[in-house]
Amino acid sequence: MKSCLIVDDSRMIRRVAGRIVKDLGFEVIEAVNGQEALDKCRISMPHAVLVDWAMPIMDGFDFVKKLRALPGGDAPTVVFCTSVRDVERIVEALAAGADEYIMKPFDSDIIESKFALAGLV
């Protein structure tokens, strides 16, 4: 079974996104910030990462840059999931190594569509 790491400091978002991703056939792993996510990736690299931008301790942008620098860190498909809808920030996220980008609020159609575009489903 493919795994998806959901990185968000909001428990509600982790729960809602987790249910949608689970329905798409993924095993769900959670982290509350970028540092915890990075620690989990060092132990086992997930197939997909759904990551928020603004989080305490380590934000999503730093997390993605550090993830991509890890051995095997280029393998996971990274999808940002954030309320930031500014084009320049989207470009920054893609340059940092994100494959796709979701703007909150989202629904199951959006996550499924973005996962399909990223070749995950």
Binding site: D86, V91, L94, Y101, I110, L117
Partner: protein, 311 residues
Amino acid sequence: MSDADRHGALSLNPSYYDALRRLTLELAGINLGSSHAFLVETRLSRLAREEGYGTLEAMVDELFKTGGSRLAVQVVTALTERDTHFFKDKTAFKRLEEIVLPDLQRKRGGGRIRLLSFGCASGQEPYGMAMLLHRMREQMGDMKVDIVGVDYPSQALDRAREGRYTHFDVQRGLPIQDLVDFFEAGKVDWVVKADIRNNVEFRDIHLLSKLDTLEDFHAVMFCGGLPHYSAPARVRVLRGLAGLVKENGYLILGEGESLSQMNFGFDRATNETGLYIKREMPVEPEIDETLKVPNGRTTFEKTSKRHKSLS
């Protein structure tokens, strides 16, 4: 299980549901199917609010009492509007990119070609064509492409003209790089950039009417609509489309859709169904009257004899 059981109390007199189903079949050739009552409730309630009616029943009452054609078209359009999103039919776009456009480019080398999105709803399909062409601009060389989207007059088509899409619209089917490249963020919505928008023209048209107000096209894309039509309406639409496609031009249908038993002057372009190429019409040899001589011989015969005598 009835619609009422499934979705709770319905607000219209039951006889209206059948009347609306018949109206839709008559005007648009589209069969709403057996569970159309819920569709009527959700789509027409919104239209009733937008048109300033106190209730859905008040709007439908007026429709059937006055027989207003403008309201009838609005009602039928609301009932038949298809849920669409960017690059919805991936197979059709793949065929456009990998077969149709390269072939047209190869055959014509340059000049101008015309593409039609038939039943374009809120415009994602023709804008998708324009985005695809932008990505293929080096391959397409000097070739200019005009894109036309047609559908019934509706608020969806008005939104298409503005190129304005919601947060949800731009996140279904549209790769994030395309959002960055081809859209601008408005205060609330996302708007297609002018250089893409200017490549696409939208026209109101009754899809079952005679299509002779439209010019010929080198390729017509018609995806997802065919299965909803009644059999006679399907023949009528396809016959109309056959008249719009230029010889050696393409008809691109949706995934799994086909011309079925009739060919309408098309041949399959590949082994799979869904992509058709318009046959060349046989050309009758033209007889040039000026070449005839009174005794029935042609100038060519005379020239031929003269040639023999000289040799």
